[in-house]
């Protein structure tokens, strides 16, 4: 071994230390980024002595990464569902406030009882009609809220699909860089970091599974098995439904020719915000809308007027409550989409529209042939009493609304509230569970692959000492060479 060799080894050592310092400073710079992975310079021996930084390795844990992606997707889905269900809950409110259709129905029943107690009192009649109007308006507002939620979900899916397309483009570019860099052997750890970030963002929209292939190439599949990216981004198509209304379904999201949302999807996606939005738009909101429609239809049926003659010839006609298809009463037990948006108090009984409230007591809202109080007695209460009984009489409801089929209208309205609250409770509990799973997965992944500032600082001390020693060595060798030179002169 000669001095020149020692010098060159020392120089190599210096540059290796300098590179490792660079790695450390990169780590320190990334300490604030949540999912940045720790980079380590790996030393290897050089032929002829010395070390160099062979490759900058990146700390990674496949299993924890996969768990983390799954947790992100599930938490995102549940979060979306809870947010939308909470908006639906606004139509119901707290049971104490009586602002739900069930509560307003209760107020109508009390107003009818008050009118029956004082049938000659015009004010009591007006109060009953006003309570009916509140109920009709409550149903109109509820429908508007539910359809608004559906439209929000539809728009949400549209913007999610746009983001997904952008993310897949970025993923494609990064993937190409990674593959090229791996083949050339250059440092691609930053691109790997960015690629993982993009995958995490994709997981928020739709659940993903990663498959590693040769040369660092990565393929992406949805959690249902549909290809998202394999050497190239796959086509995603979705169109918003402009006239979304009760009974009209939204379109499905189609990835690579396979629909991933909707009840008929075979390879449906079950996580990610797109799945959550689609579940509410096509499932919960639709069922709830059907329940509100059935309540409206039940009201029209309950207050419909029948021909009081001994041999009835006139058909049943809409009484206190009418709708856009009135005066015909909708058939029993069959859902009519959107009826709750058009239900209103019959103008013939509404004083604000020139009607007479006393027709509620006497019958005849649908026409003179339906008058029950033919003697015109001012104290006639039997008709009003019959309406109150009818509110508690079992009637048939369409089973597609999922809250009972042969029960009283008041019980039906209460069941609807039960159903929504149960959905909300389940979704909120699931959301809390998923959020805590996400927290734990994130911290597990971060602990395994993340950066610890104190660790880097301790490392820095080592490198500093090593640099000091190497510099000292170079100085010593230099001194030795100088001694040699001066000895020769």
């Amino acid at each position: 071994m000669n001095l020149a060799a020692s010098l060159s080894i020392a120089r190599l050592g210096l540059s290796a230390t300098a590179e490792q310092t660079t790695v450390t400073s990169r780590n320190v710079a990334n300490v604030g980024k949540p999912m940045a992975a720790r980079k380590m310079g790996q030393l290897s021996n050089v032929v002829g002595g010395g070390v160099r930084v062979a490759v900058i390795a990146r700390s990674a844990n496949e299993a924890l990464s996969a768990t983390h992606l799954d947790a992100v997707a599930q938490a995102s889905r549940q979060d979306t569902v809870v947010r939308l269900l909470d908006q639906l809950d606004a139509t119901v409110g707290d049971p104490e406030n009586d602002s739900s259709p069930a509560g307003l129905m209760s107020k109508l029943s009390s107003a009818l009882q008050g009118y029956a107690a004082a049938p000659t009192d015009i004010a009591a009649g007006r109060a009953a009609v006003a309570a009916a109007e509140d109920l009709a308006r409550g149903l109109n507002t509820a429908t508007a809220t539910v359809q608004d939620v559906r439209r929000q979900a539809d728009d949400g899916i549209a913007s999610a699909v746009t983001s997904l397309r952008d993310l897949l483009q970025r993923f494609g570019k990064l993937n190409t860089e990674v593959v090229n860099g791996t083949r050339l052997g250059s440092d691609i750890t930053d691109q790997l970091d960015q690629r993982d970030e993009v995958v995490s963002s994709i997981a928020e929209l739709v659940g993903v599974r990663r498959v590693m292939r040769a040369d660092g190439d990565m393929a992406l599949y949805t959690d249902g098995g549909v290809t998202l990216f394999e050497t190239s981004a796959r086509n995603i198509s979705f169109s918003t439904t402009l006239n979304l209304a009760p009974g009209i379904n939204g379109t499905a999201v189609v990835i690579d020719g396979v629909p991933v949302t909707g009840p008929s999807a075979v390879m449906a996606s079950h996580s990610g915000s797109i799945a959550g939005l689609a579940t509410v738009r096509d499932g919960a909101a639709v069922t709830f809308q059907r329940q509100i429609d059935e309540i409206a239809r039940g009201l029209i049926e309950t207050f419909a007027e029948k021909d009081p003659a001994a041999v009835p010839t006139l058909p049943d006609a809409a009484g206190l409550f009418t709708w856009s298809g009135g005066p015909t009463v909708p058939p029993a037990g069959t859902l009519v989409d959107g009826i709750s948006a058009t239900i209103a108090v019959n103008p013939a009984v509404d004083p604000a529209q020139g009607g007479t409230p006393s027709k509620l007591r006497d019958g005849g809202i649908a026409g003179a042939g339906y008058v029950v109080n033919t003697a015109g007695s001012a104290g006639y209460t039997a008709h009003l009493v019959a309406f109150q009984d009818a509110l508690s009489t079992p009637r048939t409801f369409d089973t597609s609304a999922a809250v009972g089929s042969n029960i009283a209208l008041t019980a039906y309205a209460a069941n609807s509230i039960s159903w929504l609250s149960a959905e909300r409770q389940t979704a909120t509990n699931a959301s809390e569970y998923r959020a805590s799973v996400l927290t734990r997965a994130t911290s597990a992944l971060s602990n395994a692959t993340g950066i610890s500032l104190d660790d880097e600082m301790a490392n820095m001390l080592d490198l500093e000492r090593s640099y000091q020693a190497t510099s000292k060595l170079i100085a010593t060798i230099d001194q030795m060479l100088q001694d040699l030179m001066s000895a020769i002169r």
């Binding site: 009882q113 107690a117 049938p119 104290g379 209460t381 039960s418 929504l420 409770q425 994130t442 104190d454």
Partner: protein, 349 residues
């Protein structure tokens, strides 16, 4: 070589997550401690929210029925006192008639007394509470009895016409002194009695409906809560009064007057008995209303307690939770601050 398995990010996140979770739970606990009810009832009860809603619906219904029962009870109380007054008036007329039989000025006094009695009888029958007439049946917006002494009244005209038809001159004519008891008896049994049949009564005397007011007094009971003016007791009393007041009794001779007086007294007694029956029937209705009210108030208490069991939180437990969470929050604040200050950098030179 990697010796530690902790990252700076995970360390700071742990503290932040704890603080955020504790703050959320503290907000909920504060609401519950203040109101004594669950902060979000739907979320807490889930599928049982419908039970709470149904209980409230039932409670509201009972409340409405109870207040309408109060109205019905006050009407029935007023009807009972009116009927008692009518009975009193009839009884005093009977004693007046007994005295008038044997006195010279009897007929004159009796006619005046009967006129007064008929007038107060009419007023009592036309009594109303809150705009609804008590004895009108379901035609409760009109006063049922026509005023006999108003000029051109339907009942006054009918009686006068009947008298005229029977005897050829109107009541109060001096020729009435020649009417003999037998023809008066015939008149009373014939044309006069026919003025007080159902059809004639409803035609000229009463505008009331024979259908009584039907009220719902509980969730499954409806009863009739009024007495109408077409019931037999009122007709008999009206006939008894009219006999003395509307037939010009002061102009009749003593024997004919005695016929009228006896017939009037016996009719009045029958009327009193019939009215007592009506009062008894109404009394039964009142009793049923009172029983229903009692039962409903017990039910409402039960509803309130059931709703409370479902929706309310133990206030002591909620207050304890609030103070526990406050302590927890303070601890995590302190620890977070402490941990942020721990760094190797402080110890490097």
């Amino acid at each position: 070589m990697r010796t530690s398995l902790i990252s700076t990010y995970a360390l700071s996140q742990a503290a932040r997550t704890t603080v955020r979770d504790t703050q959320n739970r503290l907000a909920v606990a504060q609401t519950e401690a203040t109101t004594g009810r669950r902060a979000d009832v739907g979320l807490a009860l889930g599928v049982r929210t419908g039970v709470s809603v149904a209980l409230r619906q039932h409670q509201a219904r009972l409340q409405a029925i109870t207040s309408s029962n109060a109205l019905a009870s006050s009407r029935m109380d007023a009807s009972q006192s009116a009927m008692t007054a009518m009975v009193g008036g009839a009884q005093s007329l009977v004693s007046t008639l007994l005295a008038a039989r044997s006195s010279r000025t009897g007929p004159g006094d009796a006619e005046i007394a009967a006129k007064g009695a008929l007038q107060s009888f009419t007023e009592l029958l036309n009594a109303s509470v809150g705009g609804t007439s008590l004895f009108g049946g379901i035609d409760s917006d009109v006063a049922p009895m026509a005023d006999f002494f108003a000029s051109g009244s339907s009942n006054g005209t009918a009686i006068t016409t009947a008298f005229q038809t029977a005897f050829g001159f109107p009541p109060g004519d001096p020729a009435a002194a020649n009417i003999d008891p037998a023809s008066m008896t015939a008149f009373l049994d014939g044309l006069f009695a026919s003025e007080f049949t159902d059809a004639a009564w409803q035609a000229s005397w009463s505008q009331a409906s024979s259908q009584n007011v039907l009220s719902r007094i509980s969730t499954n009971q409806t009863v009739e809560t009024s007495v109408n003016a077409n019931e037999p007791g009122f007709r008999q009393l009206a006939a008894a009064y009219t006999m003395v007041a509307g037939l010009g009794a002061s102009k009749l001779n003593a024997n004919t007057f005695q016929v009228i007086a006896d017939r009037s007294a016996s009719l009045a007694q029958q009327g009193i008995a019939e009215i007592a029956k009506s009062q008894a029937t109404l009394g039964v209705a009142q009793q049923r209303v009172a029983t229903a009210d009692q039962r409903m108030s017990l039910e409402m208490d039960l509803m309130t307690r059931s709703i409370g069991k479902l929706e309310s939180v133990d206030p002591y437990e909620a207050a304890t939770r609030v103070s526990e969470l406050q302590t927890q929050l303070e601890t995590s604040y302190a620890l977070t601050a402490r941990m942020q200050r721990l760094s190797l950098l402080d110890y490097l030179r």
